[in-house]
Symmetry: C2
Subunit: 177 residues, 2 copies
DNA sequence: CAAAGCATGTAAGCAGTTACATGATTGT
DNA sequence: ACAATCATGTAACTGCTTACATGCTTTG
């Protein structure tokens, strides 16, 4: 249950190189995943071994050869099986909230500082996120349905940060800080 | 950045055994953490090595000896340093949303099935969660401030599931399913 | 001239999950 | 009789992150 399927997902649009996939992951903020080369290249290796993707090596004159990965029918089947599988509940791990659980003993000043910093970080993240959404997270846009889904996915991610911000601000007020 | 601090947090209330801590974690739904003995006992071992906790072994006649862990001043200092440290952004990893990203090609029936199952799982989880909140997630309730914070933490967790449910239902409607 | 981008990877480690192991006691 | 609770742990594995390594090209 992991990156393998997201890779297959991207490859179901069109062939990509590992490098391009890595960028896609970094850009697709709604995945909330900081995957790096390690995982991408490793997963691609595994997918190739299983026959879920084929590799075409395209030599380049001055740069390292590009390895273009193409999904096979077997890969498409695997992707579909995953899509239709049991749904996973969201994992709302929130370290900062866990922190807040133990802050009741702190002084007003200390608690206020913590809350203010958190508000700041969330606000920064929201600005960043908004900008990236505006620039347009590239979905393949092969159908109106796909466009709608990707639009809603982007919005939902942003809404997560926004509701966290609203929550922490109202908590701050309630605490008289 | 992990369980160590949550353990120190609980121990800052009063001494606990590893077993009790494990249960606390399981009960504190708002932590969204399924930590098991492995991690708890391992972390306690580490904390003891560092001198953040002391151990008192209380032999029992028929059951294994209870090891009661008490936080030291060093442990309290470490906890406080963590509390005042840089805030962490929430990690909204949502595997099901990632799945949805690749579903645009599926048939109406298939997509409807996926969405319906997800709605079902979320609804079940919400019922479970509500019940557990009602039973009362035990906070130490040493002050009105602490009571408020724990109340809001519980609510926020529930709200996460509820807004996910609302989102998926409105998406379903928009997709004409 | 430095930084960012293209393009591939490796190494090491932490966090967290699942499953296993032991064994007595209490509740249904 | 079976399951749950008390109470300790170990083993194996997956997923993910951080940091490193190489080397050329394009942009500011």
């Amino acid at each position: 249950m992991s990156i393998r399927y997201a890779i297959l997902g991207f490859l179901s649009w069109k062939p990509f190189t590992g490098y391009e996939l890595k960028k896609r992951f970094a850009d697709a903020l709604s995945f909330h995943w900081a995957g790096t080369s390690n995982q991408v290249y490793g997963a691609l290796l595994g997918l190739h071994k299983e026959g879920a993707v084929t590799i075409e090596v395209i030599p380049q004159e001055k740069l390292p050869a590009r390895k273009v990965y193409t999904i096979t029918q077997k890969g498409r089947d695997e992707l579909k099986t995953w899509l239709l599988g049991d749904p996973d509940l969201p994992a709302f791990r929130n370290l900062q909230r866990t922190r807040l659980a133990w802050t009741a003993d702190l002084s007003d000043d200390e608690l206020r500082t913590i809350l203010t910093h958190y508000v700041q970080r969330l606000s920064d993240q929201i600005i960043l996120y908004r900008e990236q959404l505006r620039r347009g997270e590239e979905s393949p846009a092969r159908s109106s349905r796909e466009i709608l889904i990707w639009k809603r996915l982007g919005e939902a991610s942003l809404a997560g940060y926004e509701s966290e911000l609203a929550w922490i601000e109202s908590l701050k007020t309630e605490l008289g800080l």
